[in-house]
C-alpha cells in the first residue's frame, strides 16, 4: 500500500510550482519549434513544388499538415508535462541543489514517517528552496537556433502559399474552366427538359459525360462526339418533310371540302363531307392528293403511298382511306419534331462547344490575329445556301476557325454578281469559332430571298459546307467596288444549268423547286 504523503513545505511547493511552469513553457517552445518547424519545412517544399506544378490538393494538404503538427506538438506538451518528481530533479540539476529538493520530495512522498536525519534533510532542503530564484534555470527558449529556423521555415511557407504564382493562375483557370463546363452542362440539362424523351435522354447522357470531363479539351472532345451523335439523330429529309407537310396542310385547307383548319381538321372535314361532294370536287381532291403524294415521294414513302392510295380510291369512285393518311402524316410530323429537337440540341451543343472553345482560346492568349481569307465574295444576289446541300448555287466556300478569338482562314468562293454585272469578291472575315457568332446567320430552314437584296448593300453570306448544312465559314463583302473578271451574262446559263441539275438530284419538293426556277427566270439577262 502506498504510504500517505507528508505535507510539502511551502517553500519547496512554491519552488516546484514555478519550476514546473517554466519547464512546461520550455517543453512547449521546444516541441512546437521542432514539430512545427519540420512540418513547415515539408509543407514549404510542397508549396514550392506547387508553384511550378499545379497540385490542386496542395493547399488543403498544407493546412491539414500544419494543423496536425500543431495538435501533435500540443499532445507532446500535455503528455510530457513534467511531474513533481521530475521537476524536483530538474531543480537540483539546473540550480545546483545537490539533489536536496529531489531527495526531500521523495522522502515526503514515500515515507509515512521521517527519521531524524531525513527530517533534518527536509528542513535543509526547505531552507535552500526558500526564495530561490529560477535565474539559473536556463533560458525559456532552450534552443533558440531551432526556434529561429522553425520561424524561418514558417515564414517561408506563408510567403510561398500567399505569393501568387503561375501555377495558381493555371489552377484558377482550370477552376474557371470547370465552372464553365458545369455551366454549359447545366444549360444543356435545362434544355433536355423541353425536348422529346428520345432526344432528352441522349442529351442527359451527354451532360453526364460533360460533367465527368476533367479538362477543357476532354469536354470539347465529348461535345464534338455528342454533336455527331445528335446530328445522326437528325433526319436529312426533315426540311423536305416539313415543307411537304406544310404544303399538304395548305393545299388540303384550300379544298372546297375542307374547313380550312389544320391538316387533321381538314382531313376530318373532307372525310365527313366526301359523301356529298361533287364529282369535280372529288376529282380535284384526287388530283391534289396525287400531287402531294409526289411531294412525299422519296422522302416519306409511307405517307406518299397513303396519299396515292387515297387519290386512287377517289379517282376510282371509292372511299379514300383518309384515316391512314392522317396517321402517316402524324407520324411524319412526329419524326420532324424529333429531328428538329435533335437539331436544337445539336445547336445547343455547338453553342456550348463554341463557348468552351472561346474560353480555351482565351486561355491560350488573346488575339492571335483575325485571320484573313480571300475569295470571291458572294454578291448580293446569292443569298444564303441552306438545307441539305452544300450551298449549291451560291458558290462554294469553306472556312475553318483557328480559335484565338477570331483567327481563321476563310474559304474561297465565287459566284456571279447579281446586279453589278460582275463577280464580286470580298475579303473573308472570320471563320469557324470566331468572335462573331457564325450561327447567327440565316436560321436553318429559313428561306432567303436573295433577289430582294439591293446591289449597293453590303451583305453577309453564310456558306454552308456540307450535307448537313452546318456552317463552316462566313464571308462579308461588297460586290460593288469590284471589277468583274467574268461577265455575268457569260456564266448565267452555266450556273442555271448546274443549279437545275442539282435540283434534279436532290429530294427538294417540287413546290420549292419552283422557287429556284423562278429565281433564275428573274435573273435571266
Amino acid at each position: 500500500m502506498r504510504p500517505q504523503c507528508l505535507p510539502m513545505p511551502d517553500p519547496i511547493s512554491e519552488l516546484l510550482g514555478r519550476a514546473r511552469r517554466r519547464l512546461t513553457v520550455m517543453l512547449a517552445a521546444h516541441s512546437f519549434a521542432w514539430v512545427i518547424g519540420i512540418a513547415a519545412l515539408a509543407c514549404g517544399m510542397l508549396a514550392s513544388l506547387a508553384r511550378v506544378v499545379v497540385l490542386p490538393w496542395a493547399d488543403t494538404t498544407i493546412v491539414v499538415t500544419m494543423t496536425v503538427a500543431g495538435l501533435v506538438a500540443l499532445a507532446i506538451v500535455v503528455q510530457k508535462r513534467p511531474s513533481i518528481r521530475r521537476t524536483s530533479i530538474e531543480i537540483d540539476n539546473r540550480l545546483g541543489g545537490y539533489d536536496r529538493v529531489s531527495t526531500a520530495v521523495e522522502r515526503l512522498s514515500d515515507s509515512p514517517v521521517l527519521s531524524d536525519v531525513e527530517r533534518t534533510q527536509v528542513n535543509s532542503a526547505t531552507a535552500w528552496a526558500n526564495g530561490r530564484s529560477l535565474d539559473g534555470f536556463g533560458p525559456v527558449l532552450v534552443t533558440p537556433a531551432i526556434l529561429f529556423l522553425a520561424a524561418l521555415a514558417l515564414a517561408g511557407l506563408v510567403v510561398l502559399v500567399v505569393a501568387p504564382s503561375s501555377a495558381d493562375a493555371i489552377a484558377n483557370e482550370r477552376e474557371a474552366m470547370q465552372a464553365l463546363i458545369d455551366e454549359e452542362a447545366d444549360a444543356l440539362e435545362e434544355l433536355s427538359e423541353e425536348l422529346p424523351e428520345e432526344v432528352a435522354e441522349e442529351l442527359r447522357a451527354i451532360v453526364e459525360e460533360l460533367r465527368a470531363a476533367e479538362t477543357l479539351e476532354e469536354a470539347l472532345a465529348k461535345l464534338a462526339e455528342a454533336r455527331q451523335t445528335l446530328s445522326n439523330m437528325e433526319d436529312p429529309n426533315e426540311l423536305a418533310k416539313k415543307t411537304a407537310l406544310a404544303g399538304l396542310a395548305a393545299r388540303l385547307a384550300q379544298q372546297p371540302l375542307s374547313n380550312g383548319g389544320s391538316l387533321e381538321e381538314s382531313l376530318a372535314a373532307i372525310a365527313e363531307s366526301l359523301a356529298g361532294a361533287t364529282e369535280e370536287e372529288k376529282a380535284a381532291l384526287a388530283q391534289e392528293l396525287a400531287d402531294r403524294a409526289d411531294d412525299f415521294a422519296g422522302i416519306d414513302n409511307q405517307l406518299a403511298q397513303a396519299l396515292d392510295n387515297a387519290s386512287s380510291a377517289l379517282a376510282s369512285g371509292g372511299a379514300p382511306d383518309l384515316a391512314t393518311v392522317g396517321e402517316a402524316a402524324a407520324r411524319t410530323s412526329a419524326d420532324v419534331s424529333t429531328s428538329e429537337a435533335a437539331g436544337a440540341a445539336s445547336a445547343a451543343v455547338a453553342e456550348s462547344q463554341r463557348m468552351l472553345s472561346d474560353a480555351a482560346a482565351q486561355g491560350q492568349g488573346d488575339g492571335q490575329g483575325d485571320g484573313q481569307g480571300e475569295g470571291a465574295g458572294a454578291g448580293q444576289g446569292e443569298g444564303a445556301g441552306e438545307g441539305q446541300g452544300a450551298g449549291q448555287g451560291q458558290g462554294t466556300g469553306q472556312g475553318q476557325g483557328a480559335g484565338g478569338g477570331g483567327g481563321g482562314q476563310g474559304g474561297a468562293g465565287t459566284s456571279p454578281g447579281a446586279t453589278n454585272g460582275g463577280t464580286g469578291s470580298g475579303s473573308l472575315g472570320r471563320g469557324g469559332f470566331s468572335d462573331e457568332d457564325p450561327l447567327a446567320g440565316p436560321v436553318r430552314g429559313d428561306i432567303v430571298d436573295a433577289a430582294s437584296v439591293t446591289s449597293n448593300d453590303e451583305v453577309r453570306v453564310d456558306i454552308f459546307g456540307n450535307l448537313l448544312g452546318n456552317t463552316v465559314g462566313s464571308a462579308e463583302g461588297t460586290g460593288l467596288a469590284n471589277t468583274p473578271s467574268v461577265s455575268y451574262q457569260d456564266v448565267f446559263e452555266q450556273y442555271r444549268a448546274e443549279a437545275l441539275d442539282s435540283l434534279g438530284g436532290l429530294t427538294v419538293p417540287l413546290s420549292l423547286q419552283d422557287i429556284v426556277n423562278s429565281y433564275f427566270t428573274e435573273l435571266e439577262p
Binding site: 513534467p82 518528481r85 530533479i89 545537490y98 539533489d99 536536496r100 531527495t103 536525519v117 533534518t120 534533510q121
Partner: protein, 322 residues
Amino acid sequence: MTPEEFSTHITDVTNEVHKVVVGQDELIRATIIAVLCEGHVLLEGVPGLGKTKLLATLGSVLDVSFGRVQFTPDLMPADILGTNMLSNGQFEFHKGAIFANLVLADEVNRATPKTQSALLEAMQERHVTLGGQTHQLPRPFFVMATQNPIEMEGTYPLPEAQLDRFLFKVTVRFPTNDELVEIMKLTTSGHEATVSSVLDGEALLAMGSLVRDLPAASHVLRYVATLISATHPTADHAPDLVRQYVRFGASPRGAQALVLGGKAHALMDERLNLAAADVRAVAHYALRHRLVLGYEAIADGVSADAIIDAVLALHPQPLAED
C-alpha cells in the same frame, strides 16, 4: 551523533592529520571517507610519498588499537592472523597483527598470495577461523594497505577478486613544490610534530551509522547503477573506451562503495543527502581497482582513471525521467 557533531569530528581529525602530513588533501579526505564507511583502503604510490606516514598518523589520531604489518615474501599467514600455541598443556590462541581496529598492511603486494589471501579473507569476513574456532575481529575494523606500483620484481600483484574487497583504492600523487618545501621544513628541523587522539572507536561507529542513515533519492541510486553498468563492455550505454579496453566492469561491491563513499562525502560537505555529485567525487576511488582492463589498454597506455572519466562524461548527471 548529529550532523554538527559529525562535522566537528571531521574537522578535528583532519586538522590533526595535517599536523604531520603536508598537503595530500584529497588523499586524506578519501582515507577518512573510507574510515567513516568502515571500509578498507589500498594506497598506491611510489616510495617516500607518505603513505605509511599518513596511515600511522591516522592510527594515532583515532583512539583505536593500531596494528602494523610489514609485508615481506617470508611473511606467513599466522603472522597476520595469529596461531594456536601449546601452553601449559593446552593450545592457546595468540592473536596476530590483524586483531586491531586499524591495521596497516605495508607493501601488501610483497607477501605471497597465500598470506595475502589470509589477510583479504579476514578483511571480508571480519573474523578469523583457526583450529575450528572463530575469532571475531574488533570493530571498527579497517585495513589500510599500501603498495608500490613500480617495483614489480619479487612482488605478487593482488588478484582482482581480492582488490574488490578494498572500498577505495587511492593513488598518492607527488607533492607540489610548496608542499615539498613544507615537508622539508617539517622533517629536517629539531621540531617533531605530535598528534593527539581526537576520535575514539565508539564515536567512529556512530559517525559510520550516520553515514549509512543518510537518505539517498532513488534517481541517484539509479544513477549509480547506470555508472556501474556503463563500466561493462556489453552495456548499451557504455562509452567506446569501455567497449575497447575493459574486459570486466565493476562489481556490485563497486555500487556499494559509490553509495557509501558518496554519503560520507556528502556529510563531510555538510549536506544531508546523497547527491550525484558525491557519487562522481568518489567514483575514481571506488572503481579504479574494480575494472579489469584488457592487454590493449596496457599496450595503449589507457588507465582505469581515463575509462572512468569517459563513463562520467557520458553520464554527467541523473536523468530526470518520469
